[in-house]
């Protein structure tokens, strides 16, 4: 076999080490903010603590959607998998009496399995077709649960117990924050690895990727499955936070929001979905003060960001002359 000889040793920095530095540069402040800053400042404000807990869980789901963006698919199905996760946790903890800590990973796995089975064939579609079909999938899954309810099954699950060991809203917040940090670290590692490179190459040209030996179908199913896993976890945790889950808990609008959070935060950055989610969730709450114009201003705000920061909020840093 023709082996490429490696005679002129090019000067290449070991990427792993410089990568770890860049990772900590973002991760350390994020962890400090979430684990120290928020408890310190919002500890006495239950309403805002709930908002931030919610934002952590939504961010976790958005991180998954970000991964499907990285293979070049606009995924409007995350609400469906969050709903599947929510019902899994709800039914396992109430009907079977399993502990939340067992039910939550199972919810992720169940969502992932369904995601893999459905995703494998659907991922052949691209562009608007994939977007439209995933949007349909969200509605289809909601209708499945609605019909189970109509046919006398468990249409909704209520009285979902709080996770054992979690005694206060602050405990739940800390759990959500740690979950988000773990998710961030995992996705960051994944996209820095060569799998991340494969994902990016597929986004740019799937045929070319196949021509150099990349199993395009397998890798795109991998990205989608991880996304669904994260959706299932987010939905499962949210069901436990709310202590109930209904077919209406996640609708098409929620799937669209997951996608918008990624986009508005910035698709080039792993931090993007987190920044996007927090910015929009908090902006929406702040606009509550102006009552009936809340929704309108929120919509205008979003369009303004899209028009003036087409690469997301995080691209501000670059516009202001900051470093890469």
């Amino acid at each position: 076999m023709a082996q490429i000889d490696t005679s002129p040793p090019a000067v290449v920095q070991p990427p792993a080490r410089s990568g770890a530095g860049r990772f900590l540069l973002v991760f350390a402040p994020l962890a400090a903010l979430l684990l120290i800053g928020v408890p310190l400042f919002l500890g006495g404000m239950p309403y805002w603590l709930n908002v931030v807990t919610n934002a952590c869980l939504l961010s976790f789901g958005s991180l998954g959607v970000w991964l499907t963006f990285s293979i070049g698919r606009v995924n409007i199905a995350q609400g469906a998998f969050a709903l599947i996760g929510g019902y899994t946790v709800g039914l396992l903890t109430t009907a079977l009496g399993l502990s939340f800590w067992v039910a939550l990973p199972l919810a992720g796995l169940f969502a992932a399995v369904i995601g893999f089975v459905i995703g494998w064939p659907l991922l052949r579609l691209r562009g608007i077709y994939f977007a439209m079909v995933t949007l349909s999938l969200t509605e289809a899954v909601r209708l499945v649960f609605l019909n189970i309810g109509n046919l006398g099954g468990a249409g909704s699950v209520t009285n979902i117990p709080t996770p054992p060991g979690i005694a206060s809203p602050m405990d739940f917040y800390l759990f959500a924050a740690v979950l988000l940090l773990v998710g961030y670290a995992g996705i960051w590692r994944l996209q820095e690895s060569r799998i991340g490179g494969v994902f990016r190459s597929m986004r740019q040209n799937e045929e070319l990727a196949a021509s150099i030996g990349i199993d395009v179908a397998l890798y795109r199913a991998m990205a989608f499955t991880i996304c669904c896993f994260m959706g299932g976890i987010a939905g499962g945790a949210f069901a436990s936070l709310q202590q109930n889950v209904y077919p209406q808990t996640y609708t098409v609008s929620d799937s669209i929001n997951f996608m918008l959070y990624c986009f508005l935060g910035g698709l080039e950055f792993v931090l993007g979905p987190i920044v996007g989610t927090f910015a929009l969730v908090i902006a929406f709450e702040l606009l509550r003060a102006i009552q009936e114009y809340q929704a309108l201003l929120y919509g205008i705000l979003m369009i303004v960001v899209m028009l003036f920061l087409p690469n997301g909020l995080l691209s501000l840093r670059r516009l202001l002359g900051g470093r890469e």
């Binding site: 579609l125 077709y129 918008l260």
Partner: protein, 286 residues
């Protein structure tokens, strides 16, 4: 049976207006108009406002809906889409912008009209009988107006100068520009026309079943189903998709609970797309 066919035909005609509008915008601009359902909803609410609030005749209301929503569409093209299409590096950007405009319209409607279901009384009363089927005169009128508009639009894009320029633009933007057509103007007009059709469809439906600010996403979803069945960007596909959805819905509602009908439509649609990703009339791609 006759009743189901009558209901199906009425639905199909209304859906065809929606499908034609979204197809027009998609083929000319290559933008999937996520805001189409919201434009439909706006059209309905404008008719409600002119007829129920201002007390003007229905015809005026319908015309206002067409003009106002058409202008909204043109403004979106000029101020939003043109700009983003010029600057954007990723093809997702226009799709996401369309999602943003949908949210903007929905939130604007919430702020202006509230979230209540709004309707106006039927424009004409009375019921026709066709065999065993009942056809309320109001629905017959809605059906008639829809058919006339569909034919008018088809004639317009086939024979008028502007319509022909739109079709040329849909086929090859660069070549059309080279032929000396003002592509910017045609794009704006196309977007406006597509939007106006959505507005009219909403303005017609409000006399039958009422409209609320939150209805947009559901209508957009139906529009997507139609173009997925027929094939995106193809006029014949849009009409076929509308007819298919209208009759499937009419049959489903007659024999199944409503939510089960749509579940089955979605499952069938997803399976269908796996076999024929480009829809019935669409050209193969990718």
């Amino acid at each position: 049976m006759e009743q189901i066919l009558v209901n199906g035909a009425i639905l199909a005609a209304n859906y065809a207006l929606i499908a034609l509008g979204i197809t027009l915008i998609f083929s000319i601009m290559n933008v999937l108009n996520f805001a189409h359902g919201q434009m439909f909803m706006f059209g309905g609410l404008i008719v409600y406002w002119t007829v129920a609030q201002l007390g003007l005749p229905y015809a005026v209301g319908l015309a206002m809906a067409a003009v106002a929503v058409g202008l909204i569409g043109m403004a979106f093209e000029v101020f939003f889409f043109r700009r983003v299409m010029r600057d954007s590096t990723r093809e997702e950007n226009t799709m996401l912008l369309a999602v943003g405009t949908a949210l903007l319209l929905e939130n604007a409607a919430l702020s202006l009209f509230g979230e209540k279901q709004r309707g106006i009384p039927p424009i004409v009363t009375g019921v026709y009988r066709i065999g065993d089927a009942f056809l309320p005169a109001n629905r017959a009128l809605v059906f008639g107006i829809s058919l006339v508009l569909i034919v008018a639009i088809l004639l317009f894009v086939t024979y008028s100068k502007t319509g022909r320029a739109m079709r040329a633009l849909a086929q090859d933007r660069t070549a059309t520009l080279l032929m000396g057509v003002d592509t910017a103007r045609i794009s704006t007009l196309g977007f406006g026309l597509g939007a106006a059709l959505a507005g009219i469809a909403g303005g017609l439906l409000i006399t039958v079943s009422g409209v609320n600010a939150g209805i947009g996403t559901a209508i957009s979803t139906k529009a997507f189903i139609m173009i997925m069945i027929g094939g995106a960007g193809v006029v014949s596909g849009a009409l076929l998709g509308a007819v298919a959805l209208g009759f499937i819905e009419a049959f489903g509602y007659a024999y199944l609970p409503g939510s089960l009908t749509y579940l089955m439509i979605f499952v069938a649609l997803i399976l269908f797309l796996l076999i024929r990703p480009q829809g019935i009339m669409g050209k193969p791609w990718g």
